[in-house]
Symmetry: C2
Subunit: 245 residues, 2 copies
């Protein structure tokens, strides 16, 4: 028996998120199905991030145990032959039998992308959230500074979350312009349910002048979801990197 870790990239457009569920096609479900066929035994992957419906990833992590003799690093090539084009295994490798992606300290980085022009761009529509409202990036950056560090992010967490604690550490929030795209890049040791999308929705309200950068302090203190801005749409969000320690 050996444990295999895979780095998985996917376009979330056509999936009901990562986590397997009774109705709808999920990334986890598709991986289990094709791995089981490939390795001729029942495979159950464990994901590092259970991304929501419509969210994309360049590097989610999945581990599983197998008795198959196929070398760990070959599995990616064999599995990619079977997977649909919108899921790719970028790497597979053997890890220690007790390595667990959700029990290992990590830094995750998400990017939230906003297409900011008078009209949406058809070739970016599946990977960006569109707004024609003009955005003040300096104000967004100033607001972001209030959110960096260790805080109780209860106000930035969807009410149906079951997290034990709502304290998290955001290492960094960058707000950048790339052509007509605004990129909000958030790194942290872990995120609450919908946290990055609520951060993005709130920073957008700062960007268009509906909130002040300083009001971030009040939102954090409120510890109440209704104090923060809206949850920005899933399609703008991509899990871009994962570092384990």
């Amino acid at each position: 028996m050996k444990r295999i870790r895979m780095t998985v990239a996917y376009d979330g457009t056509n999936y009901n998120g990562w986590q397997i569920q009774p109705n709808g096609v999920t990334i986890e479900g598709v991986l289990n199905q094709h791995l089981s066929q490939l390795l001729k035994e029942e495979i159950q992957v464990i994901g590092a991030s259970r991304t929501d419906s419509g969210v994309h990833a360049l590097c989610n992590i999945a581990v599983f145990d197998t008795n198959a003799r196929m070398p760990g690093e070959k599995i990616s090539y064999a599995l990619n032959q079977r997977l649909p084009e919108d899921i790719r295994i970028r790497k597979s490798e053997e890890v220690k039998p007790d390595w667990h992606p959700r029990k290992t300290e990590s830094i995750k980085t998400y990017e939230y992308r906003i297409w900011n022009e008078e009209f949406p761009n058809p070739i970016k529509r599946l990977y960006t959230h569109f707004t024609y409202l003009s955005m003040d990036l300096e104000k967004m950056r100033k607001a972001a500074e209030f959110l960096e560090g260790e805080h109780d992010f209860k106000s930035f967490c969807s009410v149906n979350s079951q997290a034990e604690t709502t304290v998290r550490t955001i290492h960094r929030i960058e707000v950048e312009k790339e052509g007509q795209e605004i990129v909000i890049r958030v790194s942290g040791n872990g995120f609450l349910y919908n946290m990055v999308r609520i951060l993005a929705g709130t920073l957008m309200e700062v960007g268009c002048g509906r909130r002040t950068p300083e009001s971030m302090t009040e939102i954090l203190e409120a510890k109440d979801r209704s104090a923060a801005g809206p949850t920005a749409p899933a399609k703008g969000l991509t899990l871009v990197s994962y570092q384990f320690f």
Copy 2:
């Protein structure tokens, strides 16, 4: 009667190209259908570039004549309400009644995008052509220099073209790296059928060492399609800008 010019962006993935045809959905067909419904008269657009199936555009041009009273600059907003999300009108305006997009001198710019990494990126798969072969950009740039200027591009034209002359002027070919993407940006006064895709396919062969930069001269002199490289896949190609004089 007035003539309206529209700037049209589209994701070509789900269309059988620009030009209307008996079977399959085309950009031209969808524009005619929705404009006719909107303006309550039969509308026939004329396109500047009849892009192939799967090719994208940020700024193709369509003109049409109408008796409708709706001001030219309002048509874009009204039409975008009706169009599918993968087609957007970026601008509409009244032009002189004799203005014709294919009879006006212009410079068109196309970008051909290549995803160059060990594995394809699912969220780029519809807008880039993938290769894991390592590419020497300096050699590609050197080859591109031989192709700039006025030449007979017969070798870079699909055999089923009906063009009267195969002489064209390429103003510029840039080869750039953007992250893991290689961008081949080609500007010219007009292009033959499949010309940019054959240029891209040939430059990729130079990039991976299968041809020399100097061999471009022989290809041009051969005036024979079989002397050039393969036609690179449509999905990597986007019409990015149009300038009229």
